[in-house]
C-alpha cells in the first residue's frame, strides 16, 4: 500500500449468517488512513463477527474485503498471514497465551513471523512495547497474575510489537472499571498518534466512542444503521439511537 492511498480498509456488501440466521446484512464501510472508526451498537448485533471476518477468523458468506489495497479473497494463506502481521487485533478477553509469561507472549509472534531470534533485539522490542502501555514492570509476570485492565494493555502491547498499520479493538473497555476504561481510551489515542495506525474500535461504551472516535458507525440488526461524528449522531432524532444514547448516558451519571 502506498502512503497516498487513502483507504486502509474497505468492506463491501458483507453478508454472514449462522445456521440460516443472518448476523451481518449488506455491510459496507471504509477505514481511512490514520482514522479511528468506532463501530457502536448493542451486544449481539454482529460487531465482533465483522472484525473477525476482516482478519479472516470467520469466513463471510458474501461480500468483498480489501485490506491495505489487497483483495482478501484473492490471497492464499501465506499472503493472508503476511497481511495479518500488519493488523493488530486486541481481543475482548485479551486472549493472552496463559501458559506463557508476558515476555513470551510478546516475543511469540516476533520469533515466528519476523524471524527475530537475537535475544538483545527481542528484549529491546519487548521493553519498548511494554513501555508504550506503561507496564514494563509486568514483563516476567504470568497472565493469571494480571488485572483485567493490565491484561487488556498487554494484549494491545502484543499487537503493537508487530508495528501494525491497522488496529482492531474488540470491546476494549468491556468489563473494566471507569478508571481502567479511561486509561484504555487514552492508550488507544496514544497508539494512533505514535504508530499512525488506522483503527476500528468495536464497542457499546458511549464514553469510549466519544473519547476515541473520529467517526462512528452505529450498527443495528446486522446493518450499518447510521454514520457520523459523535456530535452528529447525538443530535440525530432517531428513536433507535436515542434509546441507546439515553440509556448509556443515564448509566454514566
Amino acid at each position: 500500500m502506498t502512503d497516498t492511498e487513502p483507504l486502509a480498509l474497505k468492506v463491501e456488501h458483507l453478508y454472514k449468517s449462522f445456521d440460516d440466521r443472518p448476523v451481518l446484512i449488506d455491510i459496507s464501510l471504509s477505514l481511512h488512513r490514520g482514522e479511528n472508526l468506532v463501530i457502536l451498537g448493542r451486544s449481539g448485533m454482529g460487531k465482533s463477527v465483522l472484525i473477525k471476518c476482516i482478519v479472516g477468523l470467520i469466513e463471510p458468506d458474501a461480500g468483498k474485503i480489501t485490506i491495505l489495497g489487497k483483495d482478501r479473497d484473492a490471497l492464499d494463506l501465506k499472503a493472508l498471514n503476511r497481511i495479518r502481521q500488519k493488523i493488530g487485533f486486541s481481543f475482548q478477553g485479551s486472549a493472552l497465551y496463559d501458559s506463557m509469561s508476558v515476555r513470551e507472549n510478546l516475543e511469540f509472534s516476533l520469533k515466528r513471523n519476523a524471524g527475530i531470534h537475537d535475544q538483545q533485539q527481542l528484549d529491546q522490542m519487548v521493553h519498548d512495547a511494554l513501555e508504550d502501555v506503561g507496564l514494563r514492570h509486568a514483563i516476567d509476570q504470568m497472565p493469571a497474575e494480571l488485572s483485567g485492565g493490565m491484561r487488556k494493555r498487554i494484549g494491545i502491547a502484543r499487537s503493537l510489537i508487530q508495528k501494525p498499520e491497522i488496529m482492531l479493538y474488540d470491546e476494549p473497555t468491556a468489563g473494566l472499571d471507569p478508571v481502567s476504561s479511561s486509561e484504555i481510551n487514552e492508550l488507544i489515542l496514544e497508539v494512533k498518534q505514535k504508530y499512525h495506525t488506522s483503527s476500528i474500535i468495536i464497542t457499546h461504551d458511549i464514553t469510549c466512542a466519544r473519547t476515541t472516535a473520529d467517526r462512528i458507525i452505529y450498527m443495528h440488526d446486522g446493518r450499518c444503521y447510521l454514520e457520523g461524528t459523535f456530535e452528529a449522531l447525538d443530535r440525530q432524532d432517531d428513536p433507535q439511537l436515542e434509546t441507546f444514547f439515553n440509556y448509556y448516558k443515564n448509566n454514566e451519571r
Binding site: V55, L57, Q85, F91, A95, Y97, D98, R112, R158
Partner: protein, 261 residues
C-alpha cells in the same frame, strides 16, 4: 411426529455424520502435511516431548511395577499345578512385552496426556488464544497440534520400553519372594523367550498408539465448541475415544503379528 419431519431429522443426522467424517479426514491429512512442511516447530516439539514424559513417568512406573508383580503372583499357582514354575520368567516376559506393557502405557497416556491435550486446546479455543495466534499471522495448527501429535508419537515407544523394564523388575521381586533367583538369571530367562518380532512390535505398536492418542485428543480440543461445556466434552472425548482406538490397534496388531509368526 410426522413421517416427513422424522425423515428430515434422519437426513440431518446423516449429513452431520458425513460432515464430521470429512472434518476428521481433513484434520488428519493436514497434520501429516504440516508435519513435513517447513518451518518446523522443533523447540515446541521438544518442549511437549519433555512435558509428556515428565507428566507420565512416575505413574507409568508405579502401575507397571504393580502390574508386573500382580501378574506374576497370579500366574504362579497355575504354573506350579503343571510343574512349570521355572517357566515363570518366560511367561511373564512374553506377556509383559507383547501385551501388558504397551497396553498399560497407552491407557495411562490416553487418560493423562489425552485429557490434558483435549482440555488445554479446547480452553485455548474458548478464551480465543487460538484465534489470537491466527490473527497475528502465526500458524496455530502447526504450533499446537502437530507438535503434540509428534511428541506423543515419539514419546510412546520410549515410555513402553521403560514400562516393560519396570514391570519385569516388579515381576522379578515377586518371583524372588517365593524362590531364590538372581536378577541376572531372571532377565536371562526372560529375554531368552523373547523373539526379535516381540521387541520390534513392542516399539512399533506404541508408535501407532501415540499417533492415535495425539490425533484424537488434539482433534477433540482443536475442534471443541466455544462454550465452557466444550472443554469438559473435549477432555472426555479425548480419553474415551483414545482408549477405544488403543484397543482396536492392539487387536489389529495381534492379528497381523499372529499371521507373521
Amino acid at each position: 411426529m410426522k413421517l416427513k419431519e422424522r425423515q428430515q431429522q434422519e437426513i440431518g443426522k446423516g449429513r452431520a455424520l458425513l460432515i464430521r467424517i470429512a472434518s476428521v479426514f481433513r484434520f488428519v491429512v493436514r497434520v501429516f502435511k504440516e508435519m513435513f512442511t517447513p518451518p518446523f516447530e522443533w523447540g515446541e516439539t521438544l518442549n511437549q516431548f519433555y512435558l509428556q514424559g515428565n507428566r507420565t513417568l512416575l505413574l507409568i512406573g508405579f502401575t507397571s511395577f504393580l502390574a508386573g508383580a500382580v501378574f506374576t503372583r497370579q500366574s504362579r499357582p497355575s504354573l506350579i499345578e503343571f510343574g512349570a514354575e521355572s517357566w515363570l520368567p518366560s511367561l511373564v516376559s512374553i506377556a509383559i512385552v507383547r501385551g501388558l506393557g504397551p497396553l498399560i502405557t497407552a491407557l495411562i497416556c490416553a487418560g493423562k496426556l489425552g485429557s490434558n491435550m483435549g482440555a488445554e486446546l479446547s480452553s485455548m479455543k474458548v478464551t480465543e488464544q487460538i484465534d489470537a495466534m491466527e490473527a497475528s499471522g502465526t500458524n496455530p495448527f502447526k504450533y499446537l497440534v502437530v507438535t503434540r501429535v509428534l511428541a506423543t508419537m515419539l514419546m510412546m515407544p520410549i515410555l513402553v520400553v521403560y514400562a516393560d523394564t519396570v514391570s519385569l523388575f516388579g515381576s522379578f521381586l515377586a518371583v524372588n519372594y517365593y524362590s531364590q533367583i538372581t536378577l541376572k538369571l531372571f532377565f536371562t530367562q526372560a529375554f531368552e523367550s523373547l523373539t526379535f518380532l516381540d521387541i520390534f512390535s513392542s516399539v512399533i505398536k506404541p508408535f501407532f498408539f501415540g499417533l492415535a492418542i495425539g490425533l484424537v485428543s488434539t482433534y477433540a480440543g482443536y475442534n471443541a465448541s466455544r462454550a465452557t461445556v466444550g472443554v469438559g466434552k473435549a477432555a472426555n472425548q479425548s480419553v474415551v475415544i483414545s482408549m477405544v482406538f488403543v484397543f482396536v490397534i492392539d487387536f489389529l496388531a495381534v492379528q497381523i503379528l499372529g499371521s507373521i509368526r
